[in-house]
């Protein structure tokens, strides 16, 4: 493997969230349009100045990213389409970062958006992937819940973790969400409520599941000098990893692809594993967040139960985690879920997180995870961001 090349000079700016809705009569194109408008307003430039566009979405059909250039009057020289679900945000950022670093673009608008209608979740399940069509959906396992229940069952057996361990994560996220006006979940959640919630596919219960919704997340990727010239608050990208189908020989997904690249991540970041002020994991299920704590080196192998017991994951706690409330409490706006943590970390590290600001936040770990094509999530990624 070639020597690691860092992301020197690459920064992120202008966190944009188009407020989520459970259902929307508007198309995904509308949500992308609102996100671009938010980026332009936040950057104080015309959207025509964006010479790079990266779009992550499942529900853009019949468009791909290229049609959106004409739709929104852009003339980019860098264009990317990453319909990669929960890992799309990290993948989009990595690619955009190299493009601006190399000078192929100056200012890349990274937008993740999906709309939601009462039937759209089921319809998207039907057409999710070839393997799913042939070997998952016909088993009554449409949607990730059943597939993740099978993983969770095996993971609990192997790790010795209990639903109460995962519940602690979900309950802390709900507490965080109550400080986030964008979060769709507005009521407090207790551990008892979590434990006694309706079974969906045991051991997955209602409060293990995200609520599908419509929404968009967006940010700009640019070089530090460009951000400074525009007078934009920014954060630095110091490390990034990405891996797909990381452990094809594992019979059940008891670890994610992060394990293969975690050493690279912390070496690039130049800090000890876990030396961060806050963590945003990809929380399609609380147990997947728990798995990431271990896989991303926040705790030693086998030390997860102790790690969870030893930390307070709320905004004022010892390890603020998913400070927006995460997808579990904000909602899962399709592919935008993969950018929720990035945008939230960008807010936190630029001091723009308002009522949920983590005091003195300087460094954040953000992860992505996506695409349960058949029996496991295929994509894993993570980045480390540092305040300027």
């Amino acid at each position: 493997m070639a020597a690691l090349r860092g992301y020197d000079g690459v920064v992120l700016a202008v966190p944009v969230t188009v407020p989520y809705r459970r259902y929307s009569t508007d198309s995904t194109q509308w949500w992308v349009g609102r996100a671009l408008a938010g980026l332009a307003a936040g950057a104080g430039v015309s959207h025509r100045e964006f010479d790079g566009l990266s779009v992550a979405s499942f529900s853009l059909a019949p468009d791909s990213a290229i049609g959106l250039t004409q739709h929104f009057g852009l003339s980019p020289r860098f264009l990317d389409f990453v319909p990669l679900g929960g890992v799309a945000g990290v993948v989009a950022l990595r690619r955009a970062a190299r493009a601006v670093q190399a000078g192929d673009a100056d200012m890349v608008a990274c937008v993740a958006a999906d709309t939601s209608a009462p039937q759209s979740f089921r319809q998207s399940l039907e057409n999710f992937s070839r393997f799913s069509q042939d070997a998952v959906y016909p088993y009554g396992a449409g949607g990730p819940n059943v597939s993740f229940a099978l993983i969770a069952q095996a993971y609990m057996e192997a790790s010795g973790l209990s639903r109460a361990d995962f519940g602690k994560i979900a309950v802390a996220q709900r507490a965080n969400a109550l400080k986030n006006p964008h979060a769709l979940m507005k009521k407090p959640l207790s551990l008892d409520q979590y434990l006694n919630s309706r079974p969906i596919a045991p051991p997955i219960h209602l409060f293990d599941c995200v609520m599908p919704c419509a929404g968009a997340e967006a940010f700009l990727v640019l070089r530090e000098e460009t951000a400074r010239a525009q007078g934009l608050p920014f954060v630095r990208l110091t490390a990034a990893i990405e891996r797909h189908n990381g452990f094809p020989a594992d019979p059940v997904m008891l670890r994610g692809g992060w394990v293969r690249d975690v050493d690279t991540l912390w070496a690039m970041a130049g800090v000890a594993p876990g030396a961060v002020d806050l963590v945003q994991t990809y929380d399609d299920y609380p147990f997947i967040s728990a798995m990431q704590f271990e896989d991303l080196g926040l705790c030693p192998p086998g030390g997860l139960a102790e790690f969870i017991a030893g930390h307070d994951f709320t905004i004022t706690g010892s390890l603020p985690h998913n400070t927006s409330g995460g997808q579990l409490s904000v909602g899962q706006a399709g592919c935008a879920g993969g950018s929720l943590g990035l945008v939230e970390a960008l807010r936190q590290l630029t001091g723009a997180a308002g009522g949920r600001q983590v005091a003195g936040a300087r460094r954040a770990l953000v992860s992505g995870f996506g695409m349960i094509n058949f029996d496991r999530g295929l994509g894993s990624g993570a980045v480390v961001l540092e305040a300027a």
């Binding site: 399940l125 042939d134 070997a135 016909p138 009554g140 095996a154 596919a201 019979p251 029996d375």
Partner: protein, 415 residues
């Protein structure tokens, strides 16, 4: 222990049939073909021998495109299990909870399977490739030692067990009719309507028929529009399995003096008779595919007992083969139409049977009992294609190998 099936509450509406998701890649239908015949097959690479799951277009180990559905060991271990309590799909939602498992097959791949109620994680399993209610191939896992399938509502949903169901056998004069009635009664059929054509003609073993529990003769002449319609009006809504045994075998080649007369009569019964049945009984069966709710006996299957000469023409039985070929073709159309109601069409291709009309056919011929066992066995496994008897199986194997050679063999009178 076999449980009695609950009868449908007559105050309840007839539940509309829903189907499980039926979308499949074209290549995945290699597995559908195996499931239809009750073979256990998995995608395997012809170059390196690696088994895969799901169906792939190239081997993930060596990228060879030589992928077939090949015979495979059916053992597996259960890695993990759950039950879908609130599935998104309407078919499964209506039948929830639906138990599924993640299994590691002895030959390598991991798969999601429909899971029998008994097995727990770590236990050994036996896999079956079967057709689901949409007629598409799926994997089912049951206990390694077989287990009690009558307690597995998911297995029951995908098979056509006669238990608690009412069966119409269209022609009592077929050599398999009596053994079929006996076998179905033994398997717990709730009633047997036995069609009797030309009821003024004596039926030699009438007393033996009448000794079968739950059997009732009904007048039925497939060559008559009126007869079929009358019977459908009387019992069309009470038939959950229809077994069409009507036949009209007459020897003679194309140049026999009575060839046209015999062929017309055979067509009238075997081909047009099937059309009459389809028109009168088809909609009632297809509409009752999910009748009676969970565990209660809705309509499940239609069986056409046909001659293997539908696939390979014996010139000595020219008109007979033509009529059966026509009926086989009609069977495929009927399958598509019944499929919308989740009702399975099973085609049974038999070699010459042990009766007077096949006097000149060489042994081994198929006995009525062997044919009946094959029909009921096929229903209980939920098959779609059944071939009965050594002659028929041999012909089908030869056809798959070299159809031109079969044509020459049959031309020379070599069955």
């Amino acid at each position: 222990m076999t449980q009695e099936r609950p009868r449908k509450n007559p105050l309840h509406r007839t539940r509309q049939p829903l189907l499980p998701p039926g979308g499949r890649s074209r290549k995945a239908h290699l597995l559908t073909a195996a499931a239809a015949e009750g073979r256990f097959a998995l995608p395997r690479c012809g170059a390196c021998g690696t088994y895969s799951w799901p169906m792939v277009e190239a081997c993930p180990d060596c990228l060879s495109a030589d992928i077939t559905a090949a015979e495979a060991p059916s053992g597996a271990v259960l890695l993990s299990q759950t039950s879908a309590e609130v599935p998104a799909d309407p078919y499964f939602r209506e039948r929830a909870p639906w138990r599924v498992g993640l299994v590691q097959m002895d030959c390598g791949p991991v798969a999601l399977v429909h899971l029998h109620p008994e097995p727990q994680a770590g236990e050994r399993l036996r896999l079956t490739l079967m057709l689901d209610r949409a007629g598409q191939g799926v994997l089912h896992a049951g206990p390694e030692n077989g287990g009690d399938m009558s307690t597995d509502k998911q297995w029951q949903e995908m098979t056509a067990d006669p238990r608690g169901r009412r069966v119409l056998i269209t022609d009592a004069r077929h050599v398999a009719a009596l053994p079929l009635a006996r076998k179905l009664a033994a398997e717990g059929a709730a009633g047997i309507f036995m069609g009797l054509p030309e009821s003024w003609k004596p039926l030699e073993n009438r007393a033996a028929f009448e000794a079968v529990q739950g059997l009732r003769f009904v007048p039925l002449d497939l060559a008559s529009d009126r007869s079929v319609e009358d019977l459908a009006r009387a019992i069309g809504g009470k038939v959950e399995i229809l077994i069409n045994t009507a036949d009209h075998p007459r020897p003679g080649g194309l140049m026999a003096p009575a060839a046209v007369t015999h062929t017309r009569a055979c067509m009238e019964t075997v081909a047009f008779g099937l059309m009459r049945l389809a028109r009168s009984f088809g909609p009632a069966l297809a509409g009752r595919g999910a009748d009676g709710g969970e565990g209660a006996p809705g309509a499940v299957a239609w069986v056409n007992v046909l001659s293997v000469f539908a696939r390979a023409t014996s010139p000595e039985m020219a008109g007979y083969a033509a009529a059966h070929t026509a009926a086989l073709s009609l069977s495929h159309s009927l399958r598509a139409q019944l499929g919308g109601g989740g009702v399975r069409l099973m085609t049974v291709l038999t070699g010459p049977t042990e009766d007077d009309w096949f006097q000149l056919a060489p042994q081994p011929k198929v006995t009525g009992k062997a044919l009946a066992d094959a029909v009921v066995g096929g229903l209980m496994k939920g098959l779609e294609e059944v071939v009965v008897g050594d002659v028929a199986r041999d012909l089908m194997a030869r056809l798959a190998e070299n159809p031109k050679a079969v044509e020459r063999d049959l031309a020379a009178g070599r069955l």
